[in-house]
Each structure stands twice: as C-alpha cells, then as structure tokens.
Amino acid sequence: MAALMQNEAFQVALWAMVKVGIILGVMLGVVSYLIYAERKICGHIQARTGPNRVGPLGLLQPIADVGKLLFKEEFIPAGANKVVFHIAPILAVFPAIVTFSVIPMGPPPMFVVTDINVGLLLFLAMSSLGVYAITLGGWSSNNKYALLGGLRSSAQMISYELAMGLSTIPVLLRTGTLSLSGIVDAQAGQLKAFDTVLPLPNWGIFHWYLFLPFFIFLICSFAETNRAPFDLPEAEGELVAGFHTEYSSMKWALFFLGEYMNMIVICSIMVTLFLGGWHGPGVDKFAPLGLVWFLTKLFALLFFFIWVRWTYPRLRYDQLMGFGWKVLLPASVVNVMIAAVWLYWRANA
C-alpha cells in the first residue's frame, strides 16, 4: 500500500481523482445556486422579488427543489425506447463534466486537473457530443413535440458549432497552441501595440482581431446551451417543453443540470480563450487569487447570460438558421482570414 502511495503515476491519478471529486461537488452546488440566482435575477428584472420563502432570502430554495425532484414519480411513456430514454439525460451531463477536466481554473498545477495539449479540441469534441442527449431524448420519448424539439435543437447545435469552432481559430493563430493552459499563458501581462505598453491586460478580447470572434463565440454559446434568445428546442408556445416534454423527476433534473453545467463550461472556455483565464492583479504573489479572478470573470459572464435570457425575445426558427449560416459563419471565416493576414504580416514585419 505504501509502495503504491510512492508511485508517481498513482499520485497523479489520485490527486486528479480528488480534484474531480471537489469539482463535481462544487459544481452541483454552483448549479443549484445558479438556478436560484437566475430566478432571483429574473424576479428583479420583472419587478418581482423572486424566491424568498424558504430560508433567509429564499437561500434554501434550491435544496427544497432538489428534494421535490427526487421524490417525484418516474414516468416512462408507452412506446418509448427505454434504454435510450434512460441514457439521454446522462449524456446531457457527461460532456460538460469531461470538459471541466481541461479547464485551467487557476495557476498550475494546483488548480488544473489535467493539461492535455489538445484541450480546445477536447472541448469542441465534447460540445459536439451534446447533440446526442437532446436528439436521443427527443426521439426515445415517442412524442411528436419531443421529437421535433430534439431535431430542431440538434440542427441548431450543429449549425452554430461551425461558427463557434471557426471563431476560436484566430485565438489559435495568435497563441499557436491547442492547450488551454498555453492559451491562458499567452494572455499574461500587459497589452502591447507596436511596442507600446497599453494600460490594458493582454487578454484576447483586447486584440482587435479577436473582438469579433469573441462576440460570435458568445452568440454561439447561447445557441449551444439552448438559452434565450435561441431556446427554440424548448419553445413552450410551440412545442410544449421540447425534447424533455416526457421527462420527469431526476431525469428531468439531469437535463436541467446539464443545461446549466454546459453554461458554466462554455463561459469558462470563454474566460479562458478571451478574458485572460485566471490572470489578474496579484496572482503572481498569491496563487489562489487566480481562482478568485477566474470565478469572478465566470460569474460575470453567467450573469450576462441570465440577463440576456430575461431581456430578449425568442427568434423564429428560420431567422435562427439564417443568422447562423448567413451571418455568423461568413463573418467568422472572414475574420479568420483577416487575422491570419494580420498575424502573418506582424510576424514578418
């Protein structure tokens, strides 16, 4: 046993396990309070107070919700494909959790679970797997609203994945690495323009050719997480509740969990790619400050997500597809070219 403890590989694995456990636990808490935050913010946006009955300021509301969901009746519709019906909610959560393993949440090695050199690709791969949960969930329910919702959502996700992937390419062009840690490292320090140090951090978003990609990425994130104004798969007015119409109890909760986890993941990626990751004042002196900075940026973005959801109306389906294919995709392609030419010129100037 002692020998095992001495084994370096085992230690790495063990530490990774510990980190994964912490992340999982924290994540569940974060998600439940994210839901609370959403309801609270929504309430204030709509000039209400939001949940305020359970506990002080309604802070215990999430726990009550979880309890309710756990004790609800599991309902499986007749004619449903049972296996797939069970697998789908799991698939909704799994990719988000996997992606978290490569996100650097603070200075290494403490705050990084693992740093593989194709981290960004892993994120893209996992987000492309997100389609399965919705498609399969919609299909296996044997319900036409669910099926339509599922198909809509997968078409939407596939479409916006392209623009999202393309909008990351200028970042890669600048940093020259697929590793997320590498990308964060490339954003350290102050911004320089033609050898002049500017009073701005060297974040991706402050490079002019990464500004448009950031917005494209942001818009695509809304679509990828099926949030307003792109929440067509769950458009209540048209499709009842979309792909999870037939889901109830914990399976429904898993879908819900998956949605919010995806939101957290995608915001983390955005922070990593464009907002300097965990970099911020004082990190070099006190490493855990990196985690604070990271979470600050993350929560700011999450707030923005919620804010947008309760502000904008939903798009029509053809508008959604048209916007994705005819505006975002060409814009990101053009931006890739401009960035490539610019960087090539800078490199050779």
Partner: protein, 175 residues
C-alpha cells in the same frame, strides 16, 4: 498502466463493434458505433495521436453519426426482421468468410507479416502532435489537402441535389 488501458479500450471497441452488427435496431447499432468510435479515439490517444483522436470524436461522433441518427429517425425505421432460410444461409456464409479472413490473417502474421523495424529518425514533433501534423499537412500534403476540400464541396453539392429530390413531373412521379 498504458497496456491495461489499451486492453480495456480494445475490449470495449470489439464488444461495441460486435453489437453494431448484431443488434437488430438501427438506432442502437448507431449508438454502439458512437461508443466504438469513442474507444477508438481513446486508443489513438494512447498511440500518441492526440489530434487524430480528438478529430475522430469531432468528425465521427459529432458529425457522421449524428447524420446517421438523423436519417434513421427520419425514416422511422423499426427493428430489422431477419428470419427465413435465405437470411440464415447469408449469415452462415458471412461468418464463415469472416472466420476465414481472421484465420488467414493469423497465418500471414505467423509467416512474419507484421510491422517491420521501427524507424530511427523520429519526425519533428516540436509544438505537439497537432502542430507537427499541421506542418506536414500544409507543406508536403498541401495538394491532396486542397483536393480533399474539393471532394467535400462535391459531396456537399451532391447531397443537396439528391436531398432536394426531383421536381414533380407532370405524371405525378417522384414527390
């Protein structure tokens, strides 16, 4: 540790691949295929081909198999009914051919038909697997790469043309 991981992935790969061809429902087959592609991606990672492994998931699991699922759902296919003497004969022949193939492959392997000596001069791997692949792809394989893009364009046009179907003819054929 790596060999055990490899064996695990290999076992999963073969099991899921077998399920693909054995299971009677196309959707299940497709899902098993996704799984087997994912385990294949794991094997690629173990073989120091990280880029290929990730692309394997993005392309196969993220795009190709979604397309398969779409089509299966669109056609609303039920369980395959595989009964009757003819199909039994088919199945017999098929498995026999498969067994023979494996047997022959094993015999060839016994004759020393296996991987030759390892290369002495390793490729330039600086900057990681993806960067190295990029260097080769955009220099030595630039022309095939461009041709591939044309192939994709052609396939896209072909798929769209076929999916649109023929305009309804006066006799009411087609749609």
């Amino acid at each position: 540790m790596v060999p055990y991981l490899f064996l695990g992935f290999a076992a999963m790969l073969l099991a899921t691949a077998l399920m693909v061809i054995l299971h009677k429902h196309p959707v299940t087959s497709a899902l098993f295929l996704v799984l087997s592609f994912s385990s294949l991606a794991g094997i690629y990672l173990l073989l120091q081909a990280e880029f290929v492994g990730m692309v394997q998931i993005i392309v196969y699991a993220g795009a190709i198999m979604v397309l398969f699922l779409f089509v299966i759902m669109y056609l609303n296919l039920p369980h395959d009914v595989e009964k009757g003497a003819q199909i039994a004969v088919r199945r017999g022949i098929g498995w026999m051919v498969g067994a023979l193939m494996l047997l022959f492959a094993g015999l060839l392997a016994k004759k020393g038909w296996v991987a030759g000596p390892a290369a002495t001069a390793p490729a330039d791997l600086s900057g990681g697997n993806a960067a190295a692949i990029g260097r080769v792809l955009y220099s030595r394989f630039l022309f095939p790469f461009e041709i591939t893009s044309i192939l994709l364009l052609v396939a896209m046009v072909g798929a769209i043309v076929m999916a649109k179907g023929r305009p309804a003819s006066p006799e009411g054929e087609g749609e």
